[in-house]
Amino acid sequence: MSTIEEQGTSLWQDAWIKLSKNYLALFGLAIIVLLCVVSVLTPWIAPYGYEEQNLLLGATSPSAQHWLGTDIFGRDMLTRIMYGGRVSLTVGFIATAVALVIGVLWGAIAGFVGGRVDAVMMRIVDIMYALPFMIFIVLLMVVFGRNILLLFGAIGAVEWLTMARIVRGQVMALRKQEFVEAAHSLGLSQWTIIRRHIIPNTLGPVIVYTTLTIPSVMLLEAFLSFLGLGIQPPQSSWGLLINYGVETMEEFPWLLIFPGVTLSLTLFALNFLGDGLRDALDPRTSKD
């Protein structure tokens, strides 16, 4: 089967050619890459330490020393946002990846096999939906203790539900298509059919939903951290910064504005990139 794959890279090559002509998507990609590079290099390039307090300074508005101002403990906001990006981006990407893998596989199998398997798998999804999220997380924390990996797992384990439903719906429609029946009549195994004929054709909605999941995961992390279940101060994340910013919005608006702008920028970039990818991966859109 490897030969097909080697020859089959053309879908991705085509996608790259098309993406490189979509300036909005390229802009999005550039922003994401920039954010990732900055996050990786933060310990070396950050102007201050992330827990470096200056209580005498207190909250000051942006100045030459502190470009984005300082928070109520006199900590540099730029530094806090840079360190926060490390956490937020990691949570965003890893938890979404977890959700993506589980959700797509679960949905594809349920939708493709159908019948009782589908019924059982989707009832499990329903039960998970019905389970109060808070209780689920608290339970995990109690059993496993507080752990950043657990955080990824817990968020991922909640976010995949919707993904599974979307993919299942797509697959049920695809399953009836004649090209899938043709694959059956060629004698391809179920798994090969799912992998080669079903999943690639669900890419469009999956990509769009993924770009929506990443920011929502980042906010979920903030919510958990706010409850004391996620990241703990003095560590920071964008979500946490925004939460604190909201509390002091009236006196020190820059504490809300700058993390907010950063998160929005990421969100825009992801959406542009997602739309671009969806079009680029659809062979029906023209290459020129």
Binding site: T3, I4, Q7, E178, G187, S189, N201, R284
Partner: protein
């Protein structure tokens, strides 16, 4: 003065890939009591022409670039939206192709019928509910709905396709239009129903003295119903004239090509049947489904295939005809074990296939392949021609990474595709070329049996002729045995050695093609054969008057 006079109509589509001249300088006239047929293949602009008259095209991308369309002296193309609403449904009505989707499933048909009477914005004949109801019931009687009082409150799903098309026609007629546009009104219907609907349209046109524009790709249908014919291709008129003149004395190459492409007559190639060499044997096969769509606890069992026995000899082309819902497709899929069978046996080359699980089926899958109806749905849109054709070869180990490319080229030669198109995706091909790709995939594993399920039904008539030639050629060169499933009796006649007629899940008659054609035994077969339209106006008129 003619009722409708179209002059120099130009409709262009402004798309991302440039301007498409969908209709380019088209002129024609239609008078009261006259039927004008517009014939052409898909993409010829025949529907766009008519929809532009009623301003039913999406704008953009469509733009009317020029011309006039005088209806009773007023130009429809420049009359403005308000005036257009007055014309639509009132003076000019449309019957659409698909009766399944052109009725609202949530509103009873009676309610939909009286809608234009009660709600049409500037209806002089605006009337009370009771009067409207009485009027609608009158019309239902006229279009041949039995027991209209009771049927008035029924919902569309309670009607069959033919009955729905009758309702659609009643709906079009309710405001007594002077021009009726029928856009392929019988294409989605079975041949026996088609004959009834055509007869109805003809009768209504005569009694009501309306003008009819009849859009169709089927020259047989046109022959019987039209007074004048307009042949369109690529947005332009290729030929126009009286029906007889077009059919008997055509001067135009394209018209001649269309007429020549109509399948008629018997198979000309000799049968390659090898007697006493049984390839497929089916005994008492039953495939039943449970219909989950009905609410409540009692599931209705649909007996799609209900006790079929048949034998396919090596080398023959066996035709299987039947109307929609007769179970012919399910039978084909059941033989290939693609549909779960309920009872009975299928054996291939002496080996029983029923009861094998999907793993045990794999070696047999290689030897029997399927060609599907819709070349748009039967190819994975995300796989290139190369990937589609290479997949079966690599999966069954018939090629390795060294000779795969050469093997795919060979397959492309076999089905008449240029090598340069190897890396293209399905959407870059026309319907006929896609069907060639699908056929290439089916013969890739060098199968012995091919089941072709309506392989040419979605194709234009000239393309259809080419694909049929290709199929015959491949059967010859690759020693194939074929089960050819179709609702189109003329196609089946010109390709098969032997024919089976299927109705309601059982085979009611079978025999040598020509013998069966000349001397059908069952009443159903006789009725079916009588309903086939003939692309010869004189014969077709006499056929219709004898029905």
């Amino acid at each position: 003065m003619a009722l409708l006079e179209v002059n120099g109509l130009k409709v262009y589509f402004h798309t991302r890939n440039g301007v498409v001249k969908a209709v380019d300088d088209v002129s024609f006239t239609v008078d009261r009591g006259e039927t004008l047929a517009i014939v052409g293949e898909s993409g010829s602009g025949k529907s766009v022409t008519c929809y532009s008259l009623l301003d039913l095209l999406p704008k953009p991308p469509a733009k009317i670039e020029g011309g006039t369309a005088l209806f009773d002296g007023e130009d429809l193309l420049r009359c403005g939206a308000k005036r257009m609403r007055h014309y639509r449904g009132n003076d000019i009505a449309v019957v659409f192709q698909d009766p399944m989707t052109s009725l609202n499933p949530y509103i009873s048909i009676g309610e939909q019928l009286i809608e234009p009477l009660i709600y049409h914005p500037d209806n002089q004949r605006k009337q009370s509910r009771e009067d409207a109801r009485a009027r609608a019931i009158e019309l239902l009687v006229e279009v041949g709905i039995i027991n209209p009082q009771a049927r008035f409150d029924c919902y569309p799903h309670e009607f069959s396709g033919g009955m729905r098309q009758r309702v659609m026609i009643a709906m079009a007629l309710i405001n007594e239009p002077r021009l009726l546009i029928c856009d392929e009104p019988t294409t989605a219907l079975d041949v026996t129903i088609q004959a009834q609907i055509l007869e109805l349209i003809k009768k209504l046109q005569q009694t009501r003295d309306v003008a009819v524009i009849f859009i169709s790709h089927d020259l047989g249908v046109v022959a019987g119903i039209a007074d004048k014919v307009l042949v369109m291709c690529e947005g332009t008129i290729r030929e126009a004239g009286d029906t007889d003149a077009i059919f008997y004395h055509s001067q135009n190459d394209y018209t001649k090509k269309l007429l020549n492409a109509i399948p008629e007559g018997a198979k000309t190639l000799p049968s390659r049947l090898q007697a006493d060499n049984l390839l497929v044997e089916v005994t008492n096969l039953k495939t039943h489904f449970i219909d989950h769509s009905k609410a409540g606890r009692q599931h209705k069992v649909i007996k799609a295939v209900d006790g079929v026995s048949l034998a396919i000899q090596r080398g023959e082309i066996l035709g299987l005809v039947g109307e929609s819902g007769s179970g012919k497709s399910t039978l084909g899929r059941s033989i290939l074990q693609l549909a779960p069978t309920t009872a009975g046996q299928v054996s291939f080359d002496g080996n029983p296939l029923t009861g094998l699980d999907s793993k045990q089926m794999v070696p047999w899958r290689r030897k029997m392949q399927m060609i599907f109806q819709d070349p748009y749905a039967s190819l994975n849109p995300r796989m290139t021609v190369y990937q589609t054709l290479a997949e079966p070869l690599l999966y069954h180990g018939l090629a390795n990474s060294k000779n795969i490319e050469q093997q795919v080229r060979q397959l492309m030669d076999d089905v008449g595709l240029a090598h340069g198109q190897m890396r293209k995706y399905p959407h870059e091909f026309s319907g006929g070329q896609r069907q060639r790709i699908a056929i290439g995939r089916a013969i890739a594993t060098k199968p012995e049996l091919i089941i072709a399920d309506e392989p040419v039904s979605a194709l234009d008539v000239t393309i259809q002729a080419q694909i049929l030639d290709l199929i015959l050629d491949l059967v010859e060169r690759h020693n194939l045995t074929m089960l050819f499933i179709s609702h189109d009796l003329s196609v089946v006649r010109c390709i098969s050695d032997r024919v089976m007629v299927m109705n309601k899940g059982v085979i009611i008659e079978q025999g040598d093609t020509e013998t069966l054609w000349k001397n059908p035994q069952q009443a159903y077969t006789q009725q079916l054969l009588k309903a086939i339209p003939i692309a010869d106006p004189r014969l077709e008129r006499s056929r219709l008057s004898n029905l």
